[in-house]
């Protein structure tokens, strides 16, 4: 537990739990990204403001089209999330969606998602597809709508405020029984993209499936991520953002911070609990807490992140 958690009163934490489907805010603090719980950022504006200007918000796993018991109202929880973003003390420049925009890759689901994505005051949105977004027979529904930035390849980079962002795709080349895959072509592109960039450039990498192995039996990892990490290791500040597992898991390794985001739609079980990574049914009065507030991390140094990630679970 870091001292900075004194920013949070218990009352405030409970208030945050009333929100469903929060995202994660990243503030650039001393050149290092600090994930801040979005619900807290919205309700404790002074505390969040101390951490710097919000650069971007990560939301993930909106699963538009899901309507099962685990959350019959994913539209509602996404709306709450967007309301939280719009209510922030200072609007982030970007929103990054780390995939599983839809549940079944249906055109109507994508259309509805786009309707919601028009609502944030922040208009620049970047996305990476999840495996739920690419189950249509021709794998075109996602790319027709969100493929422009990447030329329908699924990977691209851009710069914002001195930060280099790299969006990757690891959901198309599964090996049976295996993990996600980046593939040789994409890895070669990353190498070329990073070549010549100063090691002092902060780098943010985002992709849907975890770029580190969290739980192999459930495919929670990327088989060839090691080759990506060896390219990133020389940079002084690397933040790796993923979704897919519908819960926060963080680790810090050298200059790299790894973070998986909560879902805005429904929780999933902790690794290895139950038959598989399906929707986790919880009592209705606990759902918002599972989506909006599994942990609060307000830290100024990334080495404290790993210690913090279960703080208020």
């Amino acid at each position: 537990m870091s001292d900075d958690q004194s920013l949070l009163s218990r009352r405030n934490a409970l208030k945050c739990m009333a929100y469903g489907g929060a995202g994660t805010l990243f503030a650039l603090s001393g050149g290092v990204f600090t994930p801040i719980d979005l619900a807290m950022a919205a309700s404790d504006k002074q505390g969040a403001a101390k951490l710097g200007k919000p650069l971007f918000v990560q939301i993930s796993d909106t699963h538009i089209g899901f309507n099962k018991e685990a959350n019959p109202d994913v539209n509602g929880t996404l709306t709450q999330t967007i309301d939280l973003v719009n209510g922030m003390y200072d609007q982030p420049a970007l929103i990054i969606h780390t995939g599983d925009i839809t549940h079944l890759s249906k055109p109507a689901e994508f259309d509805l998602a786009q309707h919601f994505f028009n609502r944030p005051a922040t208009t620049e949105m970047h996305t990476g597809p999840g495996e739920h977004d690419t189950t249509d027979a021709t794998v075109t529904e996602y790319f027709n709508r969100f493929g422009k930035a990447s030329g329908s390849k699924g990977y691209y980079s851009f710069d914002h405020a001195g930060v280099h962002f790299v969006g990757l795709i690891n959901v198309l080349q599964f090996k049976p029984g295996g993990l996600g895959t980046l593939g040789a072509e994409q890895l070669a592109w990353v190498a070329a993209d990073l070549k010549g960039r100063s090691a002092s450039t902060p780098v943010v990498v985002f992709a849907h499936m975890p770029l580190w192995t969290i739980y192999e039996p459930w495919g929670w990892g990327t088989g060839d991520a090691d080759q990506l990490m060896s390219q990133l290791r020389r940079f002084g500040s690397v933040t790796v953002l993923n979704g897919h597992i519908h819960q926060i898991v963080q680790k810090v390794e050298g200059n790299m911070t790894f973070h998986t985001a909560r879902s805005t739609s429904y929780p999933q079980p902790v690794a290895g609990v139950g038959s598989g990574p399906g929707p986790l049914k919880v009592p209705a009065d606990q759902l918002a807490a599972m989506l909006g507030m599994t942990s609060v991390s307000v830290v100024k140094h990334p080495s404290a992140l790993a210690l913090n990630d279960k703080a208020l679970a």
Binding site: E69, L104, T135, W218, G276
Partner: protein, 120 residues
Amino acid sequence: MKKEAHVHLRRIQWLPTAVGMVILGAMEVYVPSVGETLSATQIEVKDFMFMPTPLTVKAGSTVTWTNKDDEPHTVVSDTGEFKSGGMDTNESFSHKFDKPGTYHFTCSIHPRMVGTIVVQ
């Protein structure tokens, strides 16, 4: 529709072996065994598994996968010969296997889910 057609086929096969009305009448008792033959072309997708696997069928059989999980699944052949879309709860996908061989498939959403069909 397919089920009925299959049952009908079985009856025709049975007729030449039926030596009298008594045995024909007893054929009704055999319905469960006909049912077994039919269910052998069904694969249930449940608890993140394909069941049964491996499944052995005769050439020309149509295999139907039905998703019984709350989570969507897909059926994708390793060779690209067949591919379902995302199957939501209780949705099905069918594919007819004309040529003998061994067919491996996976769920593209949960790649650890694998199955095999042997066509004889």
